[in-house]
Symmetry: D2
Amino acid sequence: MRVGVLTGGGDCPGLNAVIRAVVRKGVSVHGFEFVGYRDGWKGPLEGLTMELGIEQCRGILPRGGTILGSSRTNPFTVDGGVEQIKDNLARDGVDALVAIGGEDTLGVATKLADLGVNVVGVPKTIDNDLSGTDYTFGFDTAVNIATEAIDRLHTTAESHHRVLVVEVMGRHAGWIALHSGLAGGANIVLIPEQPFDIDEVCALVEARFESQYSPIIVVSEGAVPKSGTEELTSGELDAFGHVRLGGIGDRLARQIEERTGKEARSVVLGHIQRGGTPTAFDRWLATRLGLQAADAVAEGDFGTMMALHGTTVTRIPLLEGTGELKLVSPEEYAEAQVFFG
Amino acid sequence: MRVGVLTGGGDCPGLNAVIRAVVRKGVSVHGFEFVGYRDGWKGPLEGLTMELGIEQCRGILPRGGTILGSSRTNPFTVDGGVEQIKDNLARDGVDALVAIGGEDTLGVATKLADLGVNVVGVPKTIDNDLSGTDYTFGFDTAVNIATEAIDRLHTTAESHHRVLVVEVMGRHAGWIALHSGLAGGANIVLIPEQPFDIDEVCALVEARFESQYSPIIVVSEGAVPKSGTEELTSGELDAFGHVRLGGIGDRLARQIEERTGKEARSVVLGHIQRGGTPTAFDRWLATRLGLQAADAVAEGDFGTMMALHGTTVTRIPLLEGTGELKLVSPEEYAEAQVFFG
Amino acid sequence: MRVGVLTGGGDCPGLNAVIRAVVRKGVSVHGFEFVGYRDGWKGPLEGLTMELGIEQCRGILPRGGTILGSSRTNPFTVDGGVEQIKDNLARDGVDALVAIGGEDTLGVATKLADLGVNVVGVPKTIDNDLSGTDYTFGFDTAVNIATEAIDRLHTTAESHHRVLVVEVMGRHAGWIALHSGLAGGANIVLIPEQPFDIDEVCALVEARFESQYSPIIVVSEGAVPKSGTEELTSGELDAFGHVRLGGIGDRLARQIEERTGKEARSVVLGHIQRGGTPTAFDRWLATRLGLQAADAVAEGDFGTMMALHGTTVTRIPLLEGTGELKLVSPEEYAEAQVFFG
Amino acid sequence: MRVGVLTGGGDCPGLNAVIRAVVRKGVSVHGFEFVGYRDGWKGPLEGLTMELGIEQCRGILPRGGTILGSSRTNPFTVDGGVEQIKDNLARDGVDALVAIGGEDTLGVATKLADLGVNVVGVPKTIDNDLSGTDYTFGFDTAVNIATEAIDRLHTTAESHHRVLVVEVMGRHAGWIALHSGLAGGANIVLIPEQPFDIDEVCALVEARFESQYSPIIVVSEGAVPKSGTEELTSGELDAFGHVRLGGIGDRLARQIEERTGKEARSVVLGHIQRGGTPTAFDRWLATRLGLQAADAVAEGDFGTMMALHGTTVTRIPLLEGTGELKLVSPEEYAEAQVFFG
């Protein structure tokens, strides 16, 4: 049996660990041959392949990024894209595909499965906002990097009278902000699910200073103010016409400075959170998802997504994982409030 | 309501995070007053108390160890110990106890609960061998420290022709060895649950060298050889007459050297694994267990142990957590074998 | 003999290590008594003191920040400031002062020494731009933090076709950018000493992409473009009317995006570089400077600044250290160019 | 001009950084061609070569180990070894050699230089015991790893009443023990240069406990007791008939337990100290030494060793670096004593 593997979307610590596990189990237990498809869905679409075997996977476990490369290519936006993919899989003698990616990549996998392509999915997003699984790999690494950053800021917050704002990743979901804010002992955490009121934020800042401590604020890149504070809304478009995310940390720091007269500084962790070596948890999770994906292919259990439930790695229908985003619930946000403000 | 808090057993990253969360939630939401009991059960037994409030908990979230101190004192081995505890709790006006500890500490809590003491338990062990909870805090920190050590050994293993043996913690359970061995890309993992055959280990070592790579072996301090290899069994007693654990890494390295003629070196991580700052996951888990414990006390839900199931923190009867050890199952060990040998 | 100790200016990993060393050597070898002055020169100016002895210094070696607090107060801008200081020192029975700080703090020390105050200085700046010493503590920590960040960005740069800009500290001197850029394998390093040409930068970016690699650019917060590129110049004032530094990383990323059409993202490390635990080198340097300062006081060798020359800690006249900034020379910048572009 | 490069002796973080810098400067500035010799002096002796150019050096800066491999082969112990080397260099058209290594590797280089071979040396040892240079790369990495380990042990030492012994590298010189002991706040540091008295050590241990703190002891693998304490002397031979070093940490812990009745535990960092990614300082130093070596070859300045003096990288005669070991002087050991005991 010949199996293709691809990785799509933004990079994420643990991608290489999944690839390695799929290949190791597939070759040594199931006797598969593998084809590596380059740059996400662009690979099977344009027939970009690379050799993929146990040798290519040597030493990649601790490495960030992906040896297969990645892209955001969507074959459904390309005329005859699906046919091209089917033709290329046939030409390459590929019987099944393992697609490793997030909402978009697995969304494509879901549709292709309906169209008869033998595909299994492995969920990937540092934002941890995919449904059907307790966690996605990459998230634990991002949270640890953000937490270490917050730890370092405490000494400055204590030695000077400054507001420190840390902008972390999270376009639609506040998981990284919530977990790193809780683990780092932040005073205010602002997430996309809960639009914030700048006046309330400034009131908390001033209250904190009155208790002789400087506040540390963690804000998701996708956090939005309640209506009526244009200074805080980016609206800016990037070179590709999409609204530019990020920048909220810097804008928030300036607003706080103007409104409270307290010095405020911002830190923007950006891509540091998604690069480099994965934590032990992410390597372990990515590896177990990969082993499970190899078994799913061997059993012909296609159209499934690997998922973590408790300490068990299991399979769910792809649609369950890609149907809707997993957001921070009001209850989960409320649970942490005892430490904030 | 006055609540006592104590920490017992070996130290573990996250203890201070639990204390901080119990106090923060207890004071600001439930209006509790707190009493800190020093040095585990020795505190309520001998009436050793310290002031415990939000002020005492400032800045302790990232710190290893425990501000309350710890001990292995067992009141049930002391004449009239239980009565002393009841008297001291009454004298201190303490209505309920939060006991944070492992098998022994919570075993005492279980018995005291049967004897009418209002106690709730928070599970703690870096070995992760307590039943009824997916994970215990401290384990993730230990696994990350062991994994970083293994990462560093790979370059030496590659540059020289040496066998490298890493001894990690785990007296009865191989969780740290299994997870760090998997995350670090070790070649052989030996755990207490699966007695090893030194000849098989040496055969794997030689096979590995034939494939031009040097082997990295992770061994739990409690790993034992199959009968008939006295050189590997410690048998040694420490200053207190207990069989001295540890030393297996060094003994294993020497045996491999003698039997294969290959240079072998050992690394003994020891207490490095249980000290210092907790990972983000352990801070998050410890904090959430502490919040839940404060609620359990407020609800009078005594005799319970806080536990993690998936992403939910819940409560189970104390006995479920302390009844029997959670060991690595043959299936879990087998799942990882594809990477070993 | 009673000795006062103060720390001034921005915080810097290693301040507590200096304090601990001065006190330890002073008490146990020279029999000094100590007075801690709070918040830099504000302390002796307003008579803000705290107890300072071996007990207060326990456990502070690995901690960032300063137990004495800090400020930017300059007694020479206060009417009768110098007299107030002399009066307070007399009132507190303080015979000598150890001033730990950067250009400003030691500049004040230099003038006070001329006015007959018994003062010795310990140099401190993460920017490493003080003359007369090979290195200042805090610098090694900042460089390591920036280097780890660059390490993590490489995998993203390789997996995606993105320009990554890292803004590091360095208002007047490019030491952090140069050392972290060299250690992290950056492709372009922009420092204050060498105004950059945005067209040249964009040309290097495009050349890098042609060789199939994505560029990583390290830029000092104080880096400035050659005249004629207003979009890159901040000009912005902060809440206190000073030109706001920083922001160059973000502006540079946007300019590159507009001019080359390549996606560009920025990371702003900000205060992460100056907080948290010091590296071993910074603890060792800070400790040795502190020991030397205690000896200088004991020998009555006032008006001196402790300095590192090679592996030797020695003393130089305060003026030599504070006279002029130590900048990156054209030769030092040129030496690294073989790796850039 | 064709230049050969080899790395000899134990591995050391920074070897790849040197190789990369020599090649980058040699190719792009001096127009050299390179030949990689495998496994130290074994390479030119047996004619083991590999391709070496800018492409082979991509991405190796942060990697531990050496892409050229290493060995302890000494051509002067091989009949006609020197002739073989000269013949192979001639056959490979190699005009000059860059030898990167420690005492042994550079000792060979020194003799070969006398015999007319065009060779320049780059000093390497994590033990930092080479003369003629302020520091050798790898040392800073080892000290940081040991210091982080000591940091983690403090919380355990505080929470329990235990003696913790950390064995670090250093066969003949105590630099790693002294610097990490100072940076980590250890209470006792034992180094090879100063034979220790077990009774004095036990007395310090008991004194420490009386002051309510648990002692942390850092011991070099080469530390030796004063005569008359056989239990502490290894004497053991390894599989190759050499006296086995190491083990002193474990033996010391047991002796302290027996003599003081206090629980004692040991940590043996071993090869963790010499593997994995280098610190920023080691990358910067290794890189600058490599750049200088390329220039030395271009200038025909053979028989020299690259060296760090203050912040300057310079050249000295090879013999100066390899003539005698750089040991910790009694004064340097005494300077740190104020923190010990």
